[in-house]
């Protein structure tokens, strides 16, 4: 008789660390130890702590194992599943920073304690490829409730009252968007799920689709009923193969159970979903470009108005919502608008999922109530910067966002607060930067991304961002002037005010925010010809301090271009600046801190 469930994370992060092989090994081992009838192995969605993956959770014991390898599985099965002995060396625990005591209860571990999972409600709990498990957690009940008991306008009202705002970046009120499409008179209307997640370092939408695809399908059906659509598209990039595969399985399962297709649940309502694969162009996350791409055209944006709610795909009224926005909808219908609105701040209701990355201890996926401070997210949940490094900035909103500093750490996170401080919520990428990051180089990195991804349709974005990148590169090379800073700022505002779409209008944000918050770093590059973080190669100089050199020759042996000379055991070593390519390998390998970088 089944008494244990073993859940193994099977989304992209853990899958790339062999979690699918781990599942296979578990299946073999439970047979070997005679536990086949007592234990069920289940693939599931993201537990959030990607840094410590692959993660395995044993129920009902509520034991989390981290960094699990295929070779650990036999021990877990033999000792834990067979004899009830927890494998201590793999158990996920934490240390209470105040009492210094070990925290074993997973709910009390700081990473989880401050989270509130609404959009990620089923991730890490159910098998995303099993519709029965989704239904067991009230899946499709919201759709049934809507079709059975609510008029379309009532559905729109609930979403409006909940205060849900678009999680893709703009933060437009979702209910209002639905309302605009609902009041349009048209023979055809459409629903689109924007799963074209393109911000560097962002993986919120991918994780939801890989861990809980049915929640998005159910929400799309609910929205279709609310506005009067019969067909929906999920626009997802082809580089998300696991998510695409799970969506296909989920759509088929929903069809087989009569939860998609004709006459859903006997209500007379028809709705179907088609998947459209994107080729990975960043601009296709912009709604008008996305619509063009669905129609088989080049993914170029067009001016708004008309907004898609009036004239969208095939010229018909269309609503476009992001994956995370949709994932909130079934929970709002089930629990009520007031319940959802009770979480968050005055103008930003509910929660927000962030992909924590960069220089942070707990890289992963977190869902926090709006109003949580950046400090809580970065230090309490994220564990701060690793290796004792000093926090410098946090980049939110991807290439359209900006960098926030230590002064902003106590700001409650919501749409308006982040914009007020020169950044934005964006889709939820949160990249933490420490003392070793050069802010000029960070701005240059994001701009390089924009230059690559600009569709080229309008001049300010196509040419302006290219010129801006050249100017930043000049500064990184130590060839900039103070006048150039003024030109950069002027060009930023020109691009911002004159570009056609959101991508161009926000392209200069990383430059403007670093100029505002880290001007001293720009000046150091220009006036002192120095990169304070030691990142910009052209401004780096490596030398060996003779009095510290132990003449061990390790640096010379590690140098890939033979730029270091000296006689082992006899004379201090010397770096020839004309040969040095500034790769830093000598700096990294010297055990006596004899290499000076400046």
């Amino acid at each position: 008789m089944e008494r244990i469930n073993v859940l193994v994370c099977a989304v992209s992060g853990c899958a790339s660390s062999n979690s699918l092989l781990i599942i296979q090994k578990f299946e073999e081992m439970i047979i070997k130890y005679g536990l086949k009838d007592e234990v069920r192995i289940i693939k599931t969605g993201c537990f959030g702590l990607c840094q410590k993956g692959p993660i395995v959770v044993i129920y009902p014991d509520d034991i989390y194992y981290s960094h699990v390898k295929v070779e650990d599985i036999e021990e877990i099965v033999r000792e834990h599943l067979g004899k009830g002995k927890v494998v201590d060396r793999l158990q996920l625990t934490d240390i209470d920073q105040k009492t210094k005591e070990k925290i074993v209860d997973i709910k009390k571990i700081p990473f989880y304690a401050k989270q509130n999972r609404i959009a990620l409600h089923n991730c890490g709990v159910i098998n995303p490829e099993d519709v029965n498990e989704y239904i067991a957690r009230d899946g499709y009940i919201a759709l049934g409730k809507v079709l059975e008991t609510m008029k379309p306008s009532e559905v729109v009202d609930v979403i409006e009252k909940s205060g849900l705002r678009g999680r893709g970046g703009g933060g437009f009120p979702t209910g209002k968007k639905w309302h605009f499409a609902a009041i349009e008179q048209s023979d055809e209307k459409y629903v689109i799920c924007n799963a074209d997640e393109g911000d560097p370092g962002a993986f919120m939408d991918r994780s939801i689709l890989e861990g809980d695809p049915h929640s998005v399908i159910e929400a799309m059906a609910i929205s279709a009923y609310a506005i009067g659509a019969k067909l929906g598209y999920i626009y997802i990039r082809a580089e998300y193969p696991i998510a695409v595969g799970r969506l296909k399985i989920a759509i088929k399962q929903a069809h087989d159970l009569g939860l998609l297709g004709e006459n859903i649940l006997g209500s007379g309502f028809n709705f179907d979903i088609e998947i459209r694969l994107g080729a990975g162009a960043f601009v296709c996350g912009e709604e008008t470009a996305l619509i063009a791409s669905i129609e088989g055209k080049r993914g170029n944006p067009v001016p708004k108005p008309p907004f898609p709610a009036k004239s969208g795909v095939w010229g018909k009224p269309t609503i476009i919502n992001n994956v995370e926005t949709f994932a909130n909808v079934p929970q709002i219908i089930l629990n009520g608008a007031e319940w959802f609105a009770s979480v968050g701040t005055e103008k930003s209701k509910g929660t927000k999922v962030f992909a924590l990355g960069g220089k942070i201890t707990n890289t992963g996926l977190v869902e926090i109530p709006m109003g949580t401070t950046l400090r809580e997210v970065i230090f309490d949940i994220g564990g701060g910067c690793p290796n004792g490094k000093k926090f410098k900035a946090v980049q939110t909103g991807g290439p359209s966002g900006g960098c926030l500093t230590e002064n902003d750490l106590d700001v409650p996170i919501d749409y308006d607060n982040l914009i007020e401080r020169g950044s934005m919520m964006g889709s939820g990428g949160m990249i933490v930067l420490d003392e070793d990051n050069c802010m000029v180089d960070v701005a240059r990195f994001y701009l390089e991304f924009i230059v690559d991804e600009s569709c080229g349709k309008c001049t300010p974005c196509r040419v302006g961002t290219k010129r801006l990148l050249e100017m930043l590169t000049t500064i990184c090379k130590g060839e900039g002037t103070l006048e150039l800073l003024d030109e950069i700022e002027e060009l930023c505002y020109h691009i911002k005010n004159n570009s056609l779409c959101g991508l161009g209008q926000s392209a200069a944000n990383p430059v403007l925010s670093t100029l505002k918050n880290f001007k001293d770093e720009y000046i150091a590059h220009i006036v002192d010809k120095r990169c304070p973080a030691g990142v910009c190669k052209a401004l780096l100089h490596y030398s060996i301090e003779p009095e510290k050199c132990r003449k061990c020759s390790l640096c010379a042996r590690s140098c890939p271009v033979d730029a270091i000379s000296g006689v082992a055991g006899q004379t201090p070593f010397y770096i020839d600046p004309s040969k040095c390519i500034k790769c830093g390998s000598c700096y990294g390998i010297c055990r006596f801190e004899a290499i000076k970088r400046g």
Binding site: P60, E133, S267
Partner: protein
């Protein structure tokens, strides 16, 4: 599925698929299954309690741990309530396990005679 009602019925049927992941239960029953316990029938006690849990629609969590108690007390069954109180039943066999389940888990009535010295 042809109606909302049918969906609700289906949900009740498939709920059991994930029931072991629902930890919000009034009692947690932990059977000590270390080698001493197993030699003295702890596995049978565990299986008996699991069967009762399933038959009675999962009123509690039944799980296992290594041996904590002394050899002379095995098999040992620990019952934890939501307030964190621990009740240690010793020298348990299948018949005693059934009594403990029916009385303590199903009717909130502790079976004092099977408790270790000191009760909790």
């Amino acid at each position: 599925m042809k109606s909302f009602e049918e969906l609700l019925k289906f949900k009740d049927e498939v709920k059991k698929n994930i029931v072991l992941r629902n930890l919000d239960k009034p009692y947690k029953v932990v059977v000590e299954v270390g080698s001493n316990g197993v030699e003295n029938g702890a596995k049978k006690v565990l299986n008996c309690l699991v069967q009762l849990m399933v038959e009675n629609d999962y009123p509690c969590i039944v799980t296992q741990s290594d041996n904590v108690q002394f050899f002379e007390y095995v098999p040992v069954v620990n019952v934890y309530d939501q307030e964190g109180n621990q009740f240690v039943y010793v020298n348990v066999n299948e018949q005693k396990a059934t009594e403990i389940f029916n009385s303590h888990i199903m009717n909130n009535s502790v079976v004092s005679e099977y408790l270790a010295k000191g009760g909790k």
